[in-house]
């Protein structure tokens, strides 16, 4: 028994069909509890007023936007090294999900920035690097769309993902160097001083759990779709041959 057994598409379909409802239910539950708790039952911040409630969407989506790229990187490496098709398809499935999370983080950030910083958009390092991250996602998705041969597409997007990761990190430091930011520091560091207060912290944790499960659900769902697409193509090809 090893983890690579799940690289078999059939095994993956069996396992994921059991896991998917649980992940979906968990995501729904966590998001419902976390967002309702955050929206209705937390006090306003003395400085930010009620806009502090946006944190329950902003922080988890930003966190998962970066983690989604990391997951794509790992899946791409697995595809390049071990040639497991499920891995490549999972990376493909994660792309649009990551892009959406990035957009959510950008939109919520802009809406929060308007009353707090007096502007929808500032060329702050964190904001700018998120915009660049969105561009990386767009390029990655577009490359998947453009190439017809599935194996070539998987190979090339994997190479792009790896090179892109290096450049994404580089860009992060470049924009840091380029402009000092308005954005506050880490809201989740273990350092108590920097952290947000407990009243906001616990619902935030629930929301983060919800976003993680939502990501898992969507990736499983979309990977299953991709596997089915691949099977339809294979069957149709066989039909044409016969």
């Amino acid at each position: 028994m090893s983890i690579w057994e799940y690289a078999n598409p059939k095994k993956f379909m069996e396992t994921s069909s059991i896991a998917l409802p649980w992940a979906a239910a968990g995501a729904l539950l966590c998001l419902l509890v976390g967002l309702v708790w955050g929206f209705f039952f937390t006090p306003d911040d003395y400085k930010q007023g009620s806009t502090v409630k946006i944190i329950y969407l902003h922080v988890p989506s930003a966190l998962m936007a970066i983690n989604a790229w990391l997951m794509m990187l790992v899946a791409s490496l697995i595809w390049l090294v071990r040639r497991h098709h499920v891995s490549a398809l999972a990376a493909k499935a994660a792309g649009p999900v990551g892009l959406t999370f990035t957009l959510v983080a950008l939109v919520t950030g802009a809406v929060w920035g308007q009353p707090m910083w007096g502007t929808w958009w500032a060329w702050d390092p964190r904001l700018t690097s998120f915009l660049i991250l969105a561009l990386f996602y767009l390029g990655y998705i577009a490359l998947w769309q453009a190439i017809e041969n599935p194996d070539t597409a998987a190979d090339l997007t994997s190479v792009l993902c790896i090179v892109g990761s290096v450049f994404a990190v580089l860009s992060r430091y470049a924009v840091n160097f380029w402009n000092q930011g308005l954005h506050q520091g880490a809201s989740l560091s273990l350092d108590k001083e920097e952290n947000v207060a407990d009243v906001f912290y616990f619902p935030l944790l629930v929301c983060i759990g919800g976003f993680v499960l939502l990501f898992l659900t969507l990736v499983l769902l979309r990977t299953r779709t991709e596997i089915r697409v691949r099977r339809v193509q294979a069957l149709l090809a066989r039909e044409r041959m016969a």
Binding site: L135, L143, L160, V163, F167, S171
Partner: protein, 218 residues
Amino acid sequence: MIALLLRDLRLALRAGGGFGLGLAFFLLVAVLVPLGVGPEPATLARIAPGILWVGALLACLLSLDRIFALDHEDGSLDLLATAPIPLEGVVAVKAAAHWIVTGLPLTLVSPLLGLLMNLPPDGYPLLLASLAIGTPALSVIGTFGAALTVGLKRGGLLLSLLVLPLYVPTLVFGAEAVRRGAAGMDVATPFLLLGGITAGVAALLPFASAAAVRINLR
């Protein structure tokens, strides 16, 4: 490899297009921006480094799809892939040829355009130096983008989408070097970082580009 470099250069010169086109585009940017922004010298001087860098970057982007496209069409890319020199070397030579045809002339005419953009006098040597150090990175990164899209019919727009985010660090450090220099600040840090990017990219990216070409030829 030198023979290959000479061949690429000769082809680029004879085909004409890419060579003059990039330069003409660069010139157009430098003419159009003042028309759009307004003629006040102070404003132009402030945005000159950024505009010139963005112009150079876009001009470079224009000719990227030609790096592999012609060789792919007539099959000489397949021959190069099976040639005794490693494909990584071929890719590096292609990037070098692209730089000599676009990056180098851009660098050389940039002071002239700096004049049009009313760049402060201190900025000229820095502009020249930062473009000379930075444009090779643009060519090498661009070659990687071109390698990813070799086999595609309509790769042009996709190529821009793939390459532009990768250009961000080079652009930031390049323009920052000139801006800081024009403002009389210390320029060693951006220059070192820019040089670091160019060196690192030139050393490592040809491997990724060669891998992409191999995948596309498979």
